[in-house]
């Protein structure tokens, strides 16, 4: 991989069937692999938020990509950011054997070092939760795998919030509402 940047693409859409299909088709045409994907209802009812990350060495391409996504009828807004413009987070869960954890002795060091939350302890397994950047959740995985062994591991897609003072979605919705009023008064 030569100097590729990880871009975070944020998309707001109507909650319609098939939106994800439309979005991924545009990634596919541009030969972009999706690294992570997170979809959930936004703060505004009926509007869904997609957060997608993808590596690319071409900022121009990302501009074209989001415009092509933005253009789709069901999409309200699409834009992209680089990490420096974002506060972002991923979640990871780790399942360990209780027996192995006991054998290991003290996990206090790890829990403090990685700020781990313990979600569950049974006689068979212990489940850890770690929030952080990719490097952090991966760092914990590597250490656990080396020292204790990890039975199951899962990492969520990235979620992100822009650090700019601009609140894009609410600004945009206000503008859309204004346009609707204008149209109605015509």
């Amino acid at each position: 991989m030569t100097d590729k940047t990880l871009y975070t693409i944020t998309i707001f859409s109507e909650n319609a069937v098939g939106v994800l299909n439309q979005i991924t088709a545009i990634f596919m045409r541009r030969q972009l692999n999706i690294e992570t994907l997170s979809v959930s209802p936004s703060a505004i009812e009926g509007i869904h938020k997609f957060t997608i990350t993808a590596y690319s060495d071409d900022a121009e391409l990302m501009k074209k990509l989001v415009r092509q996504i933005d253009k789709r009828v069901d999409i309200l807004k699409a834009y992209f950011n680089i990490d420096e413009e974002l506060v972002h987070q991923e979640l990871a869960m780790y399942k360990l054997s209780t027996e192995k954890v006991m054998e290991h002795g003290s996990v206090e060091y790890l829990i403090r070092k990685y700020n781990i939350r313990v979600l569950e302890i049974t006689k068979d397994c212990v489940v850890f939760l770690k929030a952080g950047h990719y490097a952090e959740t991966q760092g914990l995985f590597d250490e656990l795998a080396a020292e204790i062994g990890v039975l199951q591991f899962v990492r969520s897609g990235r979620i992100a919030i822009t650090t700019s003072p601009l609140e894009r979605l609410s600004d945009m919705l206000a503008k859309i509402e204004e346009e609707r009023m204008k149209l109605q008064s015509k």
């Binding site: 859409s13 109507e14 069937v17 098939g18 299909n21 439309q22 088709a25 045409r29 121009e60 501009k63 074209k64 415009r67 092509q68 933005d70 253009k71 009828v73 069901d74 999409i75 309200l76 859309i176 346009e179 609707r180 149209l183």
Partner: protein
């Protein structure tokens, strides 16, 4: 009012002003066809012979009439047969509403008989696609469909209606759509950008305008004319922009691109300001982007933000409907005269005439030339006819040599390059403009891709003039084999049937011409004949379309035939 979903569909179409539909019935769309039976007076359904033909006909109809074309097909193979036409309409920005039947909703996803995943198949090739599973959603979906298809940058919309939604009953009320929260078809003109563009144009010494289909789609022909004449800007047209301006307008320097005219292509790399209007810098226009108009400031007028900076980096982007933005800019323009600059185009025109056009249009001996036929046809119609083309050499020759006196007179498959487009599109064009002469130029390859539509012409007495330019080759591919594949003619020679006999079987009058002396009379007979006519002209077997800019090369790298280039021809 409790009526079936099928009837709500028909009533919704009527509410959108639809009076012509191109279609083909089948199991999953039968309830709609049954409802149509009661509306024969209101809606003229044109039964085609293949669903691809239905969509191409709807395209031809839309392109000449400015209305949204409608095609009606059944599920499964009906819908998949429509896909080529839908893709074509998407790439050429043609407003269509294509309606397909679908298996009953309880069968969806079960691989039922004639079930195809139409939504997934058509999402990438439509502006919007929607599956209707309840009758009460039909008016809503039709209303959205027509709004989306025709607004902003037009395009096709697909409605896939489950069989039970067609059969079940519901209340009917219709409300036109004029707003969708997530869809912004039009941007308000940005005055600062327009002023900046005007400033650049005012200070230009060598401006060149590129006219695209956006002008026609926006009905902005007059606004364009006012702009071009005030600033005295010579222009070239994209293939889809042809007929936006009259061919004989003094500022008109012909067509852009691979087989376009020499002067606008050459001047692209000499102008100081390049003004693109409703066009999208297709690779067939630009050739190699790395050497394209690098010296020029580029001003791009377009309705679609996704086209801005997509291929060519612009100095000023003017987003919006050219019908609004052009006059706003013209207000800021100074009256100019660019006589010296315009004179610079002339030597290129002369070289092109001497090296290419003279021999193509006015040969004195040898086989009949394609260009010669087109020139004779356009002149015999006083340049007032609608030109429909298929794809390949016939298309390039027609684009180069057909002449226009009014807009919406050129129907061709520009971006997708769909062989087989011409015959059904000409049928649609005749329905879209019943009072005009429709001339189709088609090759022996392309006509056989959709030749079954002769049946549609026969059944509905569609008065189209079919000019079959028969060279017994897939001419454009053969041309590339000659130029770029060492004359290895792999699978391009055609063993053809007797086309006149075929026409005769369809009760279509036809004549085959092999001699130059017969051509004028045959064209006159064709044009005066009431009804469809197939004029087959046996043209030069290995004719070439020149000028030619090889794919991916510089826009000034122009071949003129016989080893000549624009650089060495003088």
């Amino acid at each position: 009012m409790n009526i079936t979903g099928s009837e709500t569909l028909i009533r919704s179409l009527l509410a959108e002003g639809v009076n012509t539909i191109f279609g083909y019935p089948g199991g999953a769309i039968m309830p709609v066809f049954d409802a149509l039976y009661d509306f024969k007076k209101e809606i003229n359904h044109v039964l085609v012979r293949h669903e691809q033909g239905a969509v191409h006909a709807a395209q031809g109809y839309a392109r000449v009439s400015g209305k949204t074309g409608v095609a009606l097909v059944t599920s499964g193979p009906g819908a998949t047969n429509a896909i080529t036409g839908i893709t074509d309409a998407m790439m050429d920005s043609t407003p269509l509403v294509v309606i397909s039947g679908q298996v009953a909703s309880f069968l969806l996803g079960s691989d039922a008989f004639q079930e195809a995943d139409v939504i997934s198949l058509t999402q990438p090739i439509t502006k919007w696609t929607y599956q209707i599973r309840r009758p009460e959603d039909i008016p809503w979906a039709v209303s959205r469909a027509f709004y989306i298809a025709a607004s902003g940058r037009p395009g096709p919309v697909m409605l896939d209606i489950a069989r039970d939604a067609q059969l079940n009953k519901c209340d009917y009320s219709y409300k036109k759509t004029d707003f969708l929260r997530s869809y912004k078809p039009l941007s308000e003109p940005e005055l600062d950008k327009i002023e900046l563009a005007a400033e650049i144009i005012n200070s230009a010494k060598k401006p060149l305008a590129l006219v695209g289909q956006g002008v026609i789609l926006g009905n902005a022909e007059e606004e364009l004319l006012a702009f071009l004449e005030k600033a005295d800007i010579p222009f070239g047209s994209t293939i889809l922009g042809l007929s936006a301006m009259p061919t004989d307008h003094p500022l008109n320097n012909g067509m852009l691109g691979m087989h376009g005219n020499v002067s606008p292509n050459m001047k692209t790399n000499e102008c100081d300001v390049l003004i693109a209007i409703g066009m999208r810098f297709d690779d067939r226009v630009t050739g190699n982007l790395a050497t394209y108009a690098k010296q020029a400031k580029v001003i791009h007028f377009d309705i679609d933000l996704a086209e801005m900076d997509k291929n060519v980096k612009t100095t000023v982007k003017v987003l919006g409907d050219v019908k609004e933005t052009l006059p706003l800019m013209t207000n800021f323009l100074e009256k100019k005269s660019h006589t010296d600059w315009k004179t610079e185009f002339k030597p290129y025109d002369k070289t092109e005439f001497d090296c290419v056009i003279k021999e193509e249009l006015f040969p004195e001996s040898g086989d009949i030339k394609m260009g010669e036929v087109i020139n004779k046809v356009t002149e015999a119609t006083q340049n007032k006819a609608i030109c429909v083309t298929d794809v390949g050499q016939n298309q390039m020759m027609a684009s180069r040599y057909f002449k226009y006196t009014q807009s919406r007179s050129m129907v061709t498959s520009g971006a997708l390059g769909t062989m087989g487009f011409g015959l059904p599109a000409s049928i649609g064009a005749k329905y879209g403009a019943p009072d005009r002469t429709v001339c189709l130029f088609v090759g022996d390859g392309g006509i056989q891709m959709t030749i079954q539509e002769l049946g549609t012409i026969m059944e509905h007495n569609v008065d189209v003039k079919i000019i079959l330019l028969n060279n017994s080759w897939l001419g454009m591919v053969r041309q590339w084999q000659e130029l770029f594949f060492n004359e290895r003619y792999s699978e391009t020679q055609m063993h053809n049937p007797d086309f006149i006999k075929i026409a005769d079987a369809y009760n279509i009058k036809g004549k085959k011409v092999t001699q130059r002396e017969e051509l004028d009379d045959a064209i006159a007979e064709m044009l005066s004949h009431k009804g469809a006519y197939l004029l087959e002209v046996q043209v030069e077997a290995k004719g070439m379309v020149y000028p030619m800019m090889p794919a991916g090369s510089c826009v000034t790298n122009i071949m003129l035939g016989e080893g000549r280039t624009i650089q060495n021809a003088k």
